[in-house]
Amino acid sequence: MKGDKFYIFLFLTPAFLISGIFLYYPFFENFKLSFYKTDGFFNSTFIGFDNYIRLFNDEIARGSTLNSFELMLYVAIFQVGIALVLAIMVNSIKRGAAFYRITFFFPIVISGAAIGLLFTLIYNYRNGLLNEILVNLGFERVLWLTEQSALYMVAIPTIWNYVGFYFVIFLTAIQKIPQDYYDAAALEGITGFQKMTKITIPLILADLKTCLVLAITGALKIFELVYIITKGGPARSSEVLGTYMYQKAFVDSAMGYGATLAVFMVVIGLTLAFITNKFIKNDKLTY
């Protein structure tokens, strides 16, 4: 046992070191920076809690937080929901499952920047794909990215980008359900939609909960699609915490305030992870 402890310690040390150097130390430095008015390099003044006071009075930060929460809601409902429906459908087909698996998973391997550019070109007012189609059909051009619609328009590629990830998790989980359950259910006269609600979903509930936690916490990391497609606009209507933090830290050289926003994002992320874990506790399920 003593020997085991030695090896546990030995093999965990690199992971601790790497996490410490590249995660915890930078986070501590970032936390320290949030108490300074600084460009991160030569000009630095200790200002106590001023950045935090500014954060709570900052209208743009408030709007960005609400937008992040709204995106989180769309992501949780649609990314996970669509992935679940697709997984159930693909699992039930006899032929071509491999084709659909690849097709639905494909967006995951495309970088966010490329997807952002793709959708920028799709939504473009003057020369975009959607408006070119409309014009060719004899309709007027439509302004796709308005203050009312921008967040939905960003949510579409965000959802599409990650549906494949949850789809694969669900498909694997569904395929692990023993066929006996379905056979027994068929004898009882359960088919079609009932099969999904009475057998499939209850048996993959643990995976469903995990996906929800991942989707909710992952939504705070949304950055590149918003940054490329709308730049947080029009008029900050699609600004999210990630893009606002980037702007403050790297465009405005206000590293101190950028660091404060980063701390705020970590606090929200941890709180949400804690709440979701608390509300959707996993019950061990064995077949």
Partner: protein, 432 residues
């Protein structure tokens, strides 16, 4: 068994040590080069110490001067074989060069020579004493410069950067589209508004502009409303003409002056609209000519000053100046083994012949001498500068970056009526 464990631990420790040593070997060899330069024969037959210099500039990426600059460095190394130059240039697009330079200087890894923005961006480096006062640096030749050298003078009275070229901003107009639609190229504010009205009735966008990346639009509308006297004000002054300029952007947006999706377009997309002849005018800088030549449409374009209607100036006043220059790092200058080489390279690059060779690639007004055989359109730009009654730097080079970002990113809110120009300026000033 115990012996085996100890052996394993020792083995892992040794491997780790080797890895760490391998990681740091490059640095130690560099340090060795720095502290104990090796002797070598140069082409004059005298023994000279080997020197390695690192140069960081913005002449890279899409900048047409990048290729010429590399050739200049190669020629210099050919003539001075004891000097090795590492060209660590990076494009100025996206502003990451600022982070690179600041990181280099704050981590004691500064380049020996750099061509960087001598604006608020270099303030921290200058205040930290990381670059030398060129007027007092022994051997540095600052002769032959035109007025651009004086523009580099810091508020402490010293000159830390030697200019290479100047730039101007203005209203680039597609002459062909104006002719085709029988619209007069504007020389007054009224004509400018008339041109907007007339183009708005056609399929041509009057002004290719982004209201979020609205750098040049904000500057030119402030200039038009107040003339150079008011344009040169500080943000803290809360000059009412700046607010009027911002409100004029909203007024013109309602007249259909800008693309319908101006609030989400970036500068590159806006430039494309102009280059694809879907827009008649664009606010841009002298560096834009390179793209127009590449697009094969430079002959159809001319640059005019923003029509000024405000009482503090006149049409012809322009936004421009010289904001980039060559800096010598204090670390390199104080290093006996490098001083001679770095000063010599500085004098070589800033000599009139070489400076003109680099500047010719972009067609910008040079800080020394004159460019010859200029195409008509480039010459028109140089005339714009020569005839300008007054020139002042872009607003974003004069105020806190955070405050300027706030102003330009608030333009869509002014356009949609949720904010006024005055309100935005007040909120931006509070950030300073």
């Amino acid at each position: 068994m115990k012996g085996k464990k100890i052996g394993l631990v020792l083995f892992l420790l040794v491997v780790s040590l080797f890895l760490l040593a391998a990681c740091s070997s490059k640095n130690s060899s560099n340090e060795q080069t720095e502290s104990k330069p090796q002797a070598t024969e140069n082409n004059e037959g005298k023994e000279k110490e080997k020197v390695e210099l690192r140069v960081v500039t913005t002449m890279a990426g899409t900048d047409p001067a990048g290729e010429v600059f590399q050739k200049v460095l190669n020629d210099y190394m050919e003539k001075n074989q004891h000097i090795k130059i590492i060209n660590d240039s990076q494009s100025a697009d996206a502003g990451t060069i600022r982070t690179k330079i600041n990181t280099d200087f704050s981590s004691n890894n500064e380049p020996e020579l750099m061509f960087f923005f001598n604006t608020i961006d270099a303030e921290g480096i200058i205040n930290a004493g990381k670059v030398v006062n060129l007027e007092k640096a022994e051997g540095v030749d600052l002769s032959g410069y035109n007025s651009m050298l004086e523009q580099q003078r810091n508020k402490d009275g010293n000159i830390y950067a030697a200019p290479q070229s100047g730039f101007y901003e203005g209203l680039f107009v597609n002459k062909k589209l104006f002719e085709e639609h029988s619209i007069k190229i504007p020389t007054t504010w009224e004509e400018y508004e008339l041109a907007i009205e007339q183009f708005a009735k056609t399929d041509i966008i009057p002004v290719a502009a982004s209201t979020v990346d609205s750098y040049y639009v904000v500057e030119h509308y402030a200039l038009a409303a107040g003339g150079i006297d008011h344009y040169s004000a500080k943000l803290a002054d809360q000059d009412s003409t700046w607010a009027e300029g911002l409100d004029n952007i909203a007024k013109h947006a309602k007249m259909g002056a800008f693309p319908a999706d101006a609030a989400t377009l970036d500068l590159a997309m806006v430039q494309d609209l102009f280059k694809q002849e879907q827009a008649a005018m664009i606010f841009e800088g002298s560096w834009f000519w390179g793209q127009l030549v590449e697009a094969g449409m430079a002959e159809n374009v001319t640059v005019i000053p923003m029509p000024v209607y405000g009482s503090g100036g006149q049409t012809g006043d322009i936004v421009g100046g010289s904001t980039q220059g060559w800096f010598i790092s204090t670390k390199a200058y104080e290093d006996e083994s490098k001083r001679e080489a770095v000063v010599d390279l500085f004098n070589y690059i800033t000599s009139e012949e070489i400076l003109l060779e680099i500047v010719a690639a972009t067609g910008q007004p040079p800080a020394k001498g004159q460019l010859s055989d200029l195409p008509e359109y480039i010459a028109a730009g140089h005339k714009l500068v020569a005839d300008a009654p007054a020139v002042d730097l872009p607003i974003n080079d004069r105020i806190l970056p955070e405050a300027f970002t706030y102003i330009r990113e608030s333009v869509p809110s002014i356009v949609n009526g949720t904010k006024t120009g005055e309100q935005v300026l007040k909120e931006a000033a509070a950030l300073e």
